[in-house]
């Protein structure tokens, strides 16, 4: 059953989680399609000012 495995992954959602899944997979040898509904990736994290508990800039 495994003789027709496809070495690619579709990641749906370009927020922080989707982006990092895509990066890990691409860096491990899988082809990735990152699909995002909006015109740019980044998700909600890009809207945040700072992040707890270090108060780093979210961008």
């Amino acid at each position: 059953m495994n003789n027709k495995l496809t070495g690619s992954v579709v990641v749906i959602g370009g927020g922080i989680s989707g982006m990092l899944s895509a990066l890990d997979l691409a860096n491990s040898g899988y082809y990735v399609y990152l699909v995002e509904k909006g015109p740019s990736i980044g998700g909600v994290m890009a809207q945040l000012d700072k992040t707890f508990p270090t108060n780093d800039c979210a961008m």
Partner: protein
């Protein structure tokens, strides 16, 4: 829009007449019909909203097509259907902040000064509608045009008092259907209050109204304590019933009952609703199309043992859709989902990927420096204080500067593309960027240099934001002068920059995992499935670790069944070698090339490996209070689990059971929250009630921290009649053994009078304490925090790895965590390790490392003794035998050896003495 043609210049937006709400700014302002989501958006390509574009709706206008210099506008684009072939799917659709418009008691829809936390987040942001200025009436346009808005805008003021209301759209089945806890709101409310005080000055009065303060993450409890003690933020345990408004001033009046039962009236300038995280209807419908099961709250249903695997084969989930969570947990989910998706496809790995094309490097050695200087505005972050145009003009006058340019966001895609063009067009051979911090942005700019064919070390970055515009906010003139000084210094150093070479590192693709608990086994299993020889080292005589002591997960799954299955899988995997009763004696080497001696009772053996995963776990505290050890009826949570596992007959004889929470946690000597104990006790209380409905069960707690969907257990426990009594750290319950009776005494917070409970069983919810293995930490040169937990590379973006390359972390040794989170992190560590192992032929050292001028070396050995990374050593052979030499892989470029070399034989590439002096001399010109 043709995204291939769009250059992101923004000319199209300037005259666009269509307007709609700017979702990025939480609808606090409007944007044009043709837009880019935010200035740093990736990709930086403009899009048209077809619902408001005049051309597309009424066939009028067309201005953007006229002004677009790239001819990228195409009104005829149609929806396209594309079919993708993939082996796995990762579904991470995220969430929407809860919309409180439907709550009539808080009047969000009607009162201008009631805002959501998301709106407040944008108000605090320098790129937000008020550019970071906290002001009332934030929902009005900055320069209102309507008469009514103008009148309101006149009343605008800097707020003196702000209140946050927690649990809006969370833990609420009365006004909405979200029974779960959103897990992040307590922490973000504290953060917003802290930052608001920072922006508005210390006198801003911030109050947070809450039910339970939930700060169960790493370093969260300290953050909460700091907020109270250092920042003076008030925490009020009360659910405010409703808000009214002064119709004249629009100040907000609230009435609430405090902990003593008194009714209090108070007035605030602004109220922030801490809205929860919600899965959208659209996502739920899409999940249905994908055929994956959801929980009643709308999150994806996953098991504790496969926490990123949906109910449908081949579809994995991560992020908030897979239960409410914060950024570091989403990041762990991301790597875990990648690991799970990859494991299923390991046989097809590397079949569809292509190697990145290398751009040939231009040889600049011997060429006269031609420096390009780029000054970043960082939106208003720098430009708001520094005269960036003036600094740019000044840069053009400096020696060797060929070209200087100002960019609104130098890190944006279009600015990067332009930089490549300028380098090529003007034959620039050194680049200076004056912007933010190299810690986050240097790699990005260096990649741009590489793309333009320049060696990435022909680059100098100076920080005119953190070191300048931020700290000299009130002195724009001086700040501008300082920016010029910083740029002049950077230019002086850049002129002396040399191309540096990075050495190739060989990677041994054997893996060592230390710790055979759930997290370690999960990591080992994933790496073995990906084809790597993995050695699993366990100190004890069997695999499984602390999980052997657990009864059920918070989702009711039997831990032992799953644990034994996993152990069997590990033991039968041909790629995994299990070493029980084995300890680690030493660690030599560096990323890709570690070597250790391992010892058992009878033998010791050497192991060579390329990466290590530290999964050493934590253990339950042995309590020293509440009469523990003096009576058989006083036990710990794990003892109770043991009774459940063994179906102990004593359980059926109980008439009254008491749990005491925070035993050893959240107190000065152990300030962290142990995260798992609230859920564990609530779960065990339910179990007791189920076994014998007539039993009286009491949980004595400080805050119930059943985060996420664990909240449903808390609800269920209350419904079953479990009684929750809160106590303060200053007034702990008292346990008394009196004439054979076990009595628990405390002050009841509702009745505000002392109560005494006679218990048949007292369970102490003990803290989880780290092993604080300093020896292991020293072996791998990885840090431990004050409490003894491992410190990860980055609290948010690197939660499963260490700053030391090639070493990864998972499990409770990082921070206490329940079964599902330990497994997620185990998978995440495997995924991160895999990305390194996959670079086998592509791993290089840094170029900025020390090197030895052997002719000058006097063999004194100071460098060998002083280096914290063991990089210098005496050469054993060749012409310079006996002289110092540097191991390029171990060297971190700290410069300690350079500063301590008495012969001047050591040099730090990229930071050589003459380069540093050039900066100092350049600064001297200013004096």
């Amino acid at each position: 829009m043709d995204v291939n043609l769009c250059v992101g210049c923004g000319a199209c937006t300037e005259k666009c007449p269509g307007k709609f709400d700017d979702g990025y700014n939480a609808d606090l302002k409007q944007r044009t019909a043709i837009y880019v989501e935010y200035p740093q958006a990736v990709p930086l390509k403009y899009a048209i909203n077809p619902d408001v574009c005049l051309k597309l709706t009424k066939d009028k206008c067309g201005i953007c097509e006229e002004v677009c210099p790239a001819k990228a506008i195409d009104y005829t684009q149609k929806e396209e259907r594309i079919t993708l072939n993939a082996g796995s799917i990762i579904f991470s659709p995220g969430f929407k902040p809860f919309d409180p418009s439907r709550f009539d008691n808080y009047q969000y829809a009607n009162f201008p000064n009631v805002v959501t936390s998301m709106e407040f987040e944008r108000i605090l942001s320098a790129t937000g509608p008020t550019m970071g200025h906290v002001t009332t009436f934030p929902k009005l346009p900055l320069n209102p045009k309507k008469k009514q808005d103008k009148l309101l805008a006149e009343k605008r003021k800097d707020p003196k008092k702000i209140a946050w209301f927690q649990c809006v759209g969370s833990r609420d089945i009365n006004k909405c259907d979200n029974a779960y806890c959103s897990s992040v709101c307590c922490m973000y409310a504290i953060k917003e209050a802290m930052i608001a005080k920072e922006h508005a000055g210390g006198n801003l009065d911030c109050s947070i109204f809450f039910m339970d303060m939930r700060t169960p993450g790493k370093e969260f409890e300290k953050y909460y304590e700091n907020a109270k003690k250092k920042h003076g933020i008030k925490f009020i345990r009360s659910r405010v019933h409703s808000v009214t408004e002064n119709s004249e001033t629009h100040d907000l009046n609230i009435r609430y009952v405090d902990e003593k039962g008194q009714i209090i009236n108070d007035t605030f300038d602004m109220i922030v609703l801490s809205v929860g995280l919600e899965i959208t209807q659209e996502t739920k419908e899409f999940a249905q199309k994908l055929g994956i099961e959801l929980t009643p709250s709308g999150f994806c249903k996953t098991s504790s043992f496969e926490p990123v695997t949906s109910s449908r084969d081949g579809i994995y989930v991560s992020g908030v859709f897979n239960k409410p969570k914060d950024i570091p947990e989403s990041v762990l989910d991301a790597s875990a989902a990648a690991s799970a998706a990859g494991d299923a496809l390991s046989a097809a790995r590397n079949t569809l990927t292509k190697a990145v094309e290398k751009i040939p490097e231009i040889n600049v050695v011997g060429d006269r420096p031609k420096i390009g200087v780029f000054i970043c505005d960082c939106g208003s972050n720098i430009k708001g204080v520094v005269d960036c145009a003036g600094v740019t003009e000044y840069a053009k006058t400096l020696p060797y500067v060929e070209f200087a340019d100002e960019a609104m966001y130098a890190c944006s895609q279009d600015a990067q593309n332009k930089m490549v063009e300028y380098i090529k067009e003007k034959n620039l051979n050194r680049i200076v960027v004056a912007a933010c911090t190299p810690k986050t942005h240097e790699p990005l700019f260096q990649e741009t240099l590489t793309n333009a064919g320049l060696n990435k070390y022909l680059f100098e970055m100076t920080n005119i934001r953190n070191h300048n515009s931020w700290v000299h906010k009130s002195n724009p003139e001086i700040a501008t002068q300082k920016a010029k000084d910083l740029v002049r210094m950077a230019v002086a150093k850049a002129a002396l920059a040399e191309p540096l070479k990075e050495e190739k590192i060989n990677v041994n693709d054997t893996v060592m995992v230390i710790g055979g608990g759930l997290a370690g086994m999960t990591s080992a299993k994933s790496l073995a499935l990906q084809g790597y020889k993995t050695h699993l080292i366990e100190k004890k005589d069997k695999l499984g670790g602390e999980a052997h002591k657990l009864y059920k997960t918070s989702q009711g799954e039997d831990v032992q069944t799953h644990l034994n299955e996993l152990i069997k899988e590990i033991e039968s995997n041909a790629n995994i070698t299990v070493h029980c009763n084995t300890t680690l004696e030493n660690v030599d080497g560096f990323v890709g090339n570690f070597k250790s001696t391992l010892k058992t009772d009878t033998t010791s053996f050497a192991l060579e490996y390329g990466v290590a995963v530290l999964a050493t776990g934590a253990k339950a505290l042995v309590p020293t209070e509440y009469e523990y050890g003096n009576d058989d009826r006083i036990i710990t949570s794990l003892d109770l689990d043991k009774m459940f596992k063994e179906n102990d007959a004593k359980l059926d004889q109980l008439n009254s059971a008491v749990f005491i929470q925070c035993v050893g946690s959240r107190q000065p000597d152990r300030p962290y929250c142990s995260r798992v104990c609230c859920t564990h006790s609530v779960d065990n209380a339910i179990e007791l009630k189920k076994r014998k409905p007539g039993i009286d069960v009491f949980i004595l707690y400080r805050d119930i921290r059943t985060y996420g969907e664990r909240e449903l257990l808390y609800k269920k426990a209350r419904e079953l009649g479990v009684i929750f009594i809160r106590y303060d750290r200053e007034q702990k319950p008292e346990v008394v053994l009196d004439k054979g009776k076990l009595l628990v005494k405390l002050n009841d917070h509702v009745l505000n009078q002392p109560v005494e409970i006679e218990a048949d069983l007292l369970t102490l919810a003990t803290a989880l304490v780290p092993r604080k293995d300093e020896k292991l930490a020293n072996f791998f040169k990885v840090p431990l925090n004050d409490e003894g937990f491992f410190v990860e590379k980055h609290a948010k973006l690197g939660p499963a790895e260490f700053a030391t390359s090639g070493v990864f972390v998972c499990g409770s040794g990082h921070y206490p965590k329940p079964v599902n989170e330990a497994i997620t992190q185990g998978r995440a560590a495997a995924s991160r390790a895999l990305t390194l192992l996959a670079k086998k032929d592509n791993l290089f050292t840094s170029g900025t490392i020390a090197n030895v001028d052997s002719m000058k070396c006097s063999q004194c050995g100071v460098c060998v003794a002083i280096c914290p990374y063991s990089a210098p050593r005496f050469a054993t052979e060749g012409r310079f035998a006996g002289k110092a030499e540097i191991n390029a892989v171990l060297c971190k470029g700290c410069g300690l050896c350079v500063a301590s070399c008495r012969s001047g034989a050591l040099h730090l590439r990229g930071f050589d003495t003459h380069q540093i002096f050039s900066q100092i001399f350049a600064l001297g010109e200013a004096v």
